[in-house]
């Protein structure tokens, strides 16, 4: 890892100030992606600005039908939160199956979403539940946030402050996990409220996306069989040593069916 200058800040305003002053600054949250990336020299920021001391970014609250999770809340905290378990149990489950306990004790929701790994779990929930991402500058809808592989709508000096999840009547997340890393080879988040069904798919393509064809089929008939006739475009699927494009296309349907079954 190349050397850098480390700074811990105690407010969002100070974090933004620090990154503006830096040559090539980067925020660090849990560091569970940042530090490995820096060790591999895939990133070599001049300045690392630690968001870990900012109290306003921490914590979970429920207001009516909305669960607000501060950006620096760890995966372990989301998994263990009785507020999240009580309002959106599928989200608590998702958080409790990210990586392993030590990763969950450091990794944060803000870091996971900002990083936008094509195989990350949270993006599927952000899209499936129709969450809103709150930053120091604006609110961004989940559908507009993930723009490409490791790319998001965030600007360089923009800090995610919280993620707002609306409660769904029923929701479930199913992932076919890589047996070594536990990252999603394919993960599907299905949420149903009234007649409206939303589907967030991760792992399958360059970044998490809405499964519009799946939604269309499920909107008319919320049942696992409804997924059978949906055509998943194989040419858009990722293909790597873990799974071929054809296999991923197949998994999208299988995970969707399992999630639909788990909803009812």
């Amino acid at each position: 890892m190349y050397n850098f200058s480390y700074q811990k800040v105690s407010s969002v305003a100070d974090a933004v100030d620090a990154i503006k002053k830096a040559d090539d600054g980067k925020f660090v949250a849990g560091g569970q992606t940042m530090l490995p990336t820096m060790k591999h020299r895939l990133a070599s920021p001049s300045d690392v600005i630690d968001l870990g001391g900012i109290d306003e970014l921490k914590g979970i609250s429920v207001d009516g039908d909305t669960v607000t999770i501060g950006a620096m809340t760890t995966h372990a905290e989301v998994a263990a939160s009785s507020d999240v378990q009580g309002t959106i149990p599928a989200l608590a489950n998702l958080a409790g199956n990210i990586g392993d306990p030590a990763v969950r004790n450091r990794g944060t929701i803000g870091g996971s979403i900002a990083n936008n790994d094509p195989a990350a779990d949270y993006p599927a929930a952000v899209i499936g539940l129709g969450a809103t991402i709150k930053t120091n500058k604006r609110e961004i809808s989940g559908d507009e946030f993930f723009t490409g592989m490791f790319e998001t709508a965030l600007e360089d000096d923009e800090v995610i402050t919280a993620v707002l999840f609306p409660k769904a009547e029923a929701s479930a997340y199913m992932k076919f996990e890589n047996p070594a890393s536990r990252y999603a080879i394919v993960g599907v988040f299905v949420a149903k409220s009234g007649d409206i069904v939303k589907v967030g798919v991760t792992g399958a393509t360059a970044c998490a996306h809405r499964g519009l064809r799946l939604e269309k089929a499920l909107n008319g008939n919320f049942a696992a069989e409804a997924v059978d006739e949906v055509e998943i475009p194989v040419e858009k699927m990722n293909s790597d040593i873990h799974a071929s494009a054809e296999y991923r296309a197949h998994l999208v349907k299988v995970m969707t069916k399992r999630a639909v079954e788990a909803c009812s």
Partner: protein, 156 residues
């Protein structure tokens, strides 16, 4: 360079570190607490697991400066007046190690599992939560047995 101070195994320690110094490097190279191992240095193997402020973390994936002001427990901090911690004793009794390289991380993760799930934690949970700890030797069965026995002993 930065000065860091933290409580390590109950004793206040400080030192001068580079900003990029990892917590595991500070523990091993400056404090000479070499019980914490580095297996992969890429956050996969869990040989470097220690407790920071009461929870397990991979000390190869945390900067020393990030632990400034915190409480750190390493494998060296578990035994009490020469008497092994119940989890260490259980690994010994159940042949939960062969070469021993993964053992410090396994024991630290095992204690974290019991702290979170209680002393009657079931086998499936133990297996699932050891996900981040890799062992090259044992085939895991005796590790799971040891965690179970250690959990019971920790419950008193």
């Amino acid at each position: 360079m930065q000065t860091v101070s933290m409580n390590v195994n109950g004793e206040p320690k400080s030192g001068e570190v580079e900003d990029r110094t990892l917590l595991v490097e500070f523990l091993r190279e400056q404090l000479r607490l070499t019980g914490t191992h580095v297996g992969c240095d890429t956050s996969q193997c869990g040989a470097c697991v220690v407790h920071v402020n009461g929870v397990s973390v991979k000390s190869c994936t945390m900067l020393a400066v990030q632990a400034d002001g915190g409480d750190v427990t390493t494998i060296e901090g578990l035994a009490n007046n020469g008497e092994l911690h119940p989890m260490q004793q259980a690994f010994k009794d159940n042949h939960g190690l062969q070469c021993g390289f993964c053992t410090p991380g396994m024991v630290m993760s095992a204690i974290d599992i019991v702290n979170r799930n209680g002393s009657d934690v079931d086998e499936a949970t133990v297996r699932k939560e050891l996900e981040g700890n890799i062992c090259r030797c044992t085939g895991y069965h005796n590790i799971v047995k040891a965690v179970h026995a250690g959990a019971k002993n920790m419950g008193g």
